[in-house]
Symmetry: C2
Subunit: 236 residues, 2 copies
DNA sequence: CGTGCTTTTGAATAGTATCAAGGCCGGTGG
DNA sequence: CCACCGGCCTTGATACTATTCAAAAGCACG
């Protein structure tokens, strides 16, 4: 695939395009790697050395951390305009893994290029800082939720996260098919519990399901399950 | 209390002192607020409007998020050199609360001063970005742990977090006295469970306790409890 | 030397994970 | 096109873990 220029990038949310000066965009064009990943491919492998940062041009990516018995905790989703990894020190490794959930295009910028970028584009650094700071706040809230919520609440939240990140099609069906295991990996629970809770939600008329497809009929109802908590938004 | 200059600040870890130019340090001196908080006072109240960022000069601060039934989740500790809050947009509120655990001195910098700082000190912004990005990684790992660990493991981790943040005195006793409730608030559990697990650890010779005082006898033993997990460090 | 808080312990209860088995579906190869 | 196979979904039974509730004991403070 031919490498496209950041200048004419289809993704108007990319921090490079938005906050780097024209002369720098050209330099990045020369030095970036643009990589195409098919669905379900690893962009970042846990514990591999940090060489730079990945900017997501298109597609959908899940970011996870592997724990006991290879069980994965999905910590967040990264969409176009978001980024993966960070400027790492020597010999540092990625503490998380990242896998595409759709065919995706990702731009990779090496550490040393990043350093130059930082020097020349203060506005870009500011926005990068805000990105991390926003994500940090979301993580802090998610952390409280995982620590305090019961399974029903955590799984309701997982559905809302999917809803927020992937949206619904015309039939109110989630624009993504996740296995029960995946949903459990968001909520911090088990596939069986996901099943039990989904069945419960269905009986309450909050959702309906057909195989793996899940229709969200009443998002407010799901939100109400969480309303006891002092909720701050975990969304963008 | 007389406001001290950043130039001669006793805290050599402060990002302002380390990464702002001399002329800017003077400007900050004029425009910052230096506030003394006694132990157990609120620096940030949850849901109050974001007016700026707090830089911790000295003391110890816990950062928490309040959930169901006023139950608190301690999401992290902030020590000298760390910062609280972030550059917020209009009408944004703090999603977390922060409370001193010791007598503490904190420097407050308003949003509009921060903006000027950002413009004039690219290196400062870079370091701020790295701070948030480091904290984000720690939160992602903590999140997995809270989602996957059982109570025994979570409470062992809580002790290690206290150990890392506050250290031991000569008698191997934690340099901080936390109530069972507080420990439960770190681990995402209940005071009763904390009790049960602490008693267990004591019988295994990992710790000993005298009232609220906890002696860590075998940190490696506590670490071993967590070793089944692909552990990345949640510490600095 | 009370008073009120936290700690400590145990018992009862509820919640959750684990295990096992059958059914459904999609894909593959005959 | 059909039969087979493997994986995931689904459900229920079981065992375990954790929370809740209650009550006594210890401690700090006035």
């Amino acid at each position: 695939m031919k490498k496209s220029s950041c200048e004419f990038c289809e993704n108007s949310q990319c921090l490079i395009q938005k906050y780097c000066s024209p002369e720098w965009i050209q330099k990045i064009d020369e030095r970036k790697y643009q990589i195409f990943f098919k669905q379900n491919k690893d962009i970042i492998t846990e514990n591999s050395p940090i060489l730079g940062v990945f900017f997501i041009l298109s597609g959908k990516v899940k970011v996870f951390s592997t724990g006991l018995n290879q069980r994965q905790q999905i910590v967040r989703f990264a969409n176009p305009g978001h980024l993966l990894g960070h400027r790492g020190a020597e010999n540092e490794v990625y503490p998380i893994g990242a896998k595409t959930m759709d065919d995706s295009v990702v731009c990779f910028v090496e550490n040393k290029v990043l350093d130059d970028l930082f020097e020349g584009n203060p506005r870009f650094v500011q926005e990068l800082m805000k990105f991390y700071s926003r994500e940090l706040r979301k993580m802090e809230i998610r952390m409280k939720n995982l620590g305090q919520m019961n399974t029903r609440e955590k799984i309701s939240e997982a559905l809302l996260i999917l809803l927020e990140n992937f949206g619904l099609n015309e039939q109110n069906c989630l624009n993504v098919t996740f296995s029960r295991q995946d949903i459990a990996n968001i909520a911090g629970s088990t596939p069986e519990q996901v099943m039990t809770q989904l069945t419960g939600f269905e009986q309450e008329g909050l959702i309906s399901k057909a195989g793996r497809k899940i229709n969200i009929l009443n998002p407010e109802g799901l939100q109400n399950i969480l309303s006891k908590y002092n909720q701050h938004s975990i969304f963008a």
